[in-house]
């Protein structure tokens, strides 16, 4: 596939419009019929510093960022020139060019802004260009933009240059700019782009593009979405109209999308004093019969542990989002990691009753979000979605029909006043909110303001009427009932297709993964099979209750399996072994925790070295943890 794909990297300083430009570019490619996938890399810094976004486009579906890239658009970091910052950061002017060369493929294209970047500051630039057969275009994007509008429009000039070199028609981009930009800045932007486009045509021979640009044709309308978009839209479609939160990267993305939309939908969004309050508010709203959510990332989620336990004990439906980033503590705020798995599974006091879903793709993020609300309200149980900074920010195309679904405002087993008046849930003339019967453990609830339904919800152990009660028999009956929900949910989830098997069914080897590594693993599986290694993969998108039977069947069908995850302590593998109680000797781990997600080639290499050749990896980018009997 790699011959027929464009992986375009736009690099510069944070705040230089890299994100919006790349988003437009990706959308234009998607509209032209291509499958796209973006990858975002940025420092925890608001302005300046090295940042890039990759847009990968191919006629075939793309599931990951791919390996390396073949087109670099290096804009100058305008903030690197700030004399005050120089004192702190040194001279970073060459970074957008210098920092990106290692991964540029042979024969690739470099466009750099000669108005801001000086290649003589890049070590061995000319030698490397020659060695790798790179095609270099030095264009003074800065002056061009400055002359016709404003200097910040350099990125638009860069897109014009890209189109000229690759043969992508300008109209597609212009159309998007018209949608996205206010009139005032539209005209100069269009002009700048066209001038840049013409300039390349005048000064270079670009009839035969240096990188091949695929053409594609979707058979259905496509939408460009991020994982955060998908989670927010899933929540809205499930009738969630209350969100409370406190900003923390990358959870902020879902929080922002919801806050921008809920008021218009007649809902309520609250930015509150801290994450304990945020989760408590969601519980308060849900107690009143409203579909509510909250969420955070690592440290913020840590604060939610106690309210989470309250939701479990009071059986208040609650949806919490955990957008993972690299830890411990504040870790690496803008870098992905999958190391909060145990945190989400086990945080809070007591024997837990909770559901944890882990979508692997943007499409599944929408699914998981809808499912999280359904399960939370149907079973009166807190349900969490964990995903990570990678899935949160990456954009990819998904068929529009995937989102074209019926909304759902159902809040589960909540009695009407008529039903409350019927008194099947009543004893001693009181509504019994927490009855012991009910096969699936769920007992119907009422909400404040309803006649005949008054009850006490308490985080202390309580009797069926809701009153604090420490009688041993009552304790056991209540605990058993709450635990019963998990079996019912497990059975429900098994029918949900939240376990994604990929590759030849009778494969010799397996790869087990969860969350955002799904697409990358699947690409690796394709390549391994093309190279003659027979491998299949299983992505587990429901982590609690754990789908023991399905995973066991998968592992029983292979000789050996590699568990791929982004953390240093093999948390997902640990969970799998704990839940299965066996198979430890079959499982080894491939781990990565340097802040960057896996690339398919790393998984191919890791798999081949370890499982096929029984060797050791040379680099320190990824790490093996051998199987228990190794």
């Amino acid at each position: 596939m790699s011959a027929d794909e464009l992986i375009w990297r736009i690099a510069g300083g944070s705040g230089d419009g890299i994100a919006s430009t790349s988003q437009n570019f990706a959308k234009a490619l998607m509209r032209s019929g291509l499958h796209v996938f973006t990858h975002r890399h940025y420092p925890s810094r608001i302005r300046g510093g090295h940042t890039y976004v990759e847009v990968r486009a191919s006629a075939d579906p793309v599931k990951s960022r791919g390996d390396g890239y073949n087109f670099l658009l290096a804009l100058g970091d305008s903030f690197a020139r700030n004399p005050q910052e120089e004192a702190y950061y040194g001279n970073e002017e060459a970074k957008p060019l210098a920092e990106n060369l290692d991964e540029l493929r042979e024969g690739g294209v470099i466009v750099y802004d000669s108005g801001l970047l000086d290649p003589s500051e890049v070590p061995n630039f000319d030698e490397r260009v020659e060695e790798n057969n790179w095609h270099v275009y030095d264009i003074d994007l800065r002056s061009l933009a400055r002359e016709q509008g404003r200097e910040v429009m350099r990125n638009t000039a860069g897109v014009g240059v890209t189109c000229a070199i690759t043969g992508i028609p300008l109209e597609a981009i212009e159309e998007l700019m018209r949608d996205a930009m206010p009139e005032k800045i539209l005209e100069p932007n269009v002009e700048i782009m066209e001038t840049a486009y013409d300039l390349v045509h005048e000064e270079y021979d670009v009839d035969a593009p240096d990188v091949s640009v695929p053409t594609g044709d979707h058979d259905e309308d496509q939408l460009l979405m991020s994982g955060s978009d998908a989670i927010a839209y899933g929540a809205i479609d499930e009738g969630c109209r209350f969100i409370a939160g406190y900003p923390m990267t990358p959870w902020t993305e879902v929080f922002t999308i919801m806050s921008q939309n809920l008021p218009e939908l007649g809902g309520i969004s609250e930015q509150v004093e801290d994450e304990i309050a945020a989760a408590a508010l969601a519980i308060g709203a849900s107690h009143m019969g409203v579909k509510a959510m909250s969420g955070s990332s690592g440290g913020g989620f840590a604060l939610m542990g106690e309210p989470l336990g309250l939701a479990e004990m009071t059986e208040t439906p609650l949806v919490l989002i955990e957008a993972m980033r690299a830890g411990p503590s504040t870790g690496m705020p803008t870098k992905p990691e999958q190391a909060d798995l145990e945190h989400v599974l086990y945080t809070s006091q007591g024997d837990s009753q909770r559901v944890v879903l882990a979508p692997g793709t943007v499409a599944e993020a929408y699914e998981a979000s809808r499912r999280a609300f359904q399960l939370a309200y149907e079973y009166q149980i807190p349900t969490m979605i964990i995903y990570d900074q990678k899935l949160s920010g990456e954009l990819t195309n998904v068929p529009a029909s995937h989102f074209d679904r019926e909304p759902n405002g159902d809040i589960g087993m909540t009695l009407t006043e008529e039903e409350l008046a019927d008194q099947p849930h009543t004893a001693d003339g009181k509504f019994h909110r927490f009855q012991h019967d009910g096969e699936d453990g769920v007992s119907p609830r009422s909400v404040p303001g309803q006649k005949g339904g008054r009850f006490l919800a308490t985080g202390n152990e309580h009797n069926p009427a809701g009153h604090i009660e420490e009688d041993p028999d009552n304790r056991v009956a209540q605990m058993n009932r709450r635990q019963r929900k998990l079996d019912a949910i497990r059975a429900d989830l098994d029918d949900d297709g939240l376990l994604i098997e990929y590759g030849p069914e009778d494969a010799e080897y397996g790869i087990l993964t969860f969350g955002s590594q799904q697409g990358t693993v699947e690409e690796a599986v394709d390549r391994l099979n093309e190279n003659g290694t027979s491998v299949k993969a299983l992505t587990v998108a429901e982590l609690a209750p754990y789908p023991v039977e399905t995973v066991r069947a998968f592992l029983d069908s292979v000789e050996e399996a590699l568990v791929v995850e982004m953390n240093a302590s093999a948390q997902f593998r640990g969970l799998t072994q704990k839940e299965l109680g066996t198979h430890g000797e079959l499982l080894s781990s491939l781990l990565k925790y340097n802040g960057n997600p896996f690339e398919p080639a790393e998984i191919v290499e890791g798999f081949t070295t370890k499982i096929v050749d029984d060797g050791e990896l040379p680099g320190n980018e990824t790490k093996f943890v051998p199987a228990a009997g190794d």
Binding site: D237, E264, I268, A277, A280, I283, V290, A400, P407
Partner: protein, 312 residues
């Protein structure tokens, strides 16, 4: 039948309706000030015309947090210090329900101090009762944020080096639009103040002086005390912020020594409640959000119809 027919129901409510008919009976110690709060609350609710079923009492953890085991209404006994955020959201979700939050001084001024400040700042329309017994009761007598300086306890054997918190001043400066202090030993005044607080449209904070004869024997039982609104010595206008502030400063200095002043210190009828403010800027629905989930005819909007164009 409407989904919430208990709300706004016009009928005589007897205070005994708030008494749970079944176990448990209060587990508070004999002589505990918490009985006084319970008594005056049971008196005030019917006076405001609120039925048990349109009332939600949200409590924290502590002896005080057990209030809703003994007051039969809709109740939510939450976690230590977190009654306010739960209560706030409950009120936002269904503003027609009477929402009362309650907890102890450890609960409200200690662990929940941050929420206290912010709820006052936002002026949520609710009543907040803090049982101020100057001690941690349920965990057996540790120093609390309102314990006097020098107070000795098992966890502060050399006497506390901390100056006690000033709850009245704190809520006034934070933005509460109704600030009062009352005492369990004066149920009549307490009942009156509770009624005014519930009728007030905004955040009504009541520092409710209670006694803990079990762990805080040294503390004054808050007598004698003076009602500032009734005493001629204090020709006092509770709508005057400056006067309120001045008097709070004085009384909070004197609380642990001389005369104890109680009454409504501050009342601002002008300031809109948080719900009103939010409504004005278009961030809060006109109809209670909760009702929508019981309305079978409500048409839920789909994200597809609204946002999808942005992604094409």
């Amino acid at each position: 039948m409407s989904a919430f027919s208990a709300i706004g129901e016009e009928r005589e409510v007897d205070r005994n309706e708030y008494t749970p008919e079944i176990e448990p009976q209060p587990t508070w110690c004999p002589g505990c000030g918490d009985f006084g709060v319970l008594k005056s609350l049971k008196g005030a609710l019917p006076e405001v015309g609120r039925t048990p079923e349109e009332t939600l009492l949200v409590t924290g953890i502590g002896c005080s947090g057990k209030l809703n085991s003994y007051l039969d209404s809709y109740g939510f006994h939450t976690i230590h210090g977190r009654s306010l955020p739960v209560a706030r959201a409950a009120k936002l979700a269904n503003p027609d329900v009477e929402v009362i939050a309650a907890g102890g001084d450890g609960d409200g001024y200690g662990i929940g101090g941050n929420h206290f400040m912010h709820t006052a700042r936002e002026n949520h329309d609710m009543t907040y009762i803090v049982f101020n017994n100057e001690i941690f009761g349920l965990t057996k007598g540790q120093t609390s944020p309102t314990s006097p300086k020098g107070h000795k306890s098992k966890t502060q054997p050399h006497g506390s080096a901390k100056t006690p918190i000033r709850p009245l001043s704190l809520s006034l400066t934070s933005g509460a639009s109704f600030v009062a202090r009352t005492a369990a030993v004066n149920p009549n005044q307490a009942q009156r103040i509770l009624k005014e607080a519930m009728e007030h449209d905004g955040f009504a904070h009541i520092d409710f002086l209670t006694q803990c004869p079990t762990w805080n024997k040294d503390a004054k039982q808050y007598v004698p005390y003076t009602d500032i609104n009734e005493s001629e010595d204090y020709d006092f206008d509770p709508t005057n912020r400056a006067e309120a502030q001045e008097l709070m400063r004085e009384t909070e200095d004197k609380l642990y020594e001389g005369e104890v002043l109680t009454g409504v210190y501050y009342r601002d009828e002008e300031r809109p409640s948080y719900q009103e403010e939010k409504q004005q800027i278009g961030e809060m629905p006109d109809e209670p959000l909760a009702e929508r989930y019981f309305d079978d005819d409500y048409e839920w909007e789909r994200s597809y119809d609204r946002f999808i164009d942005n992604h094409k």
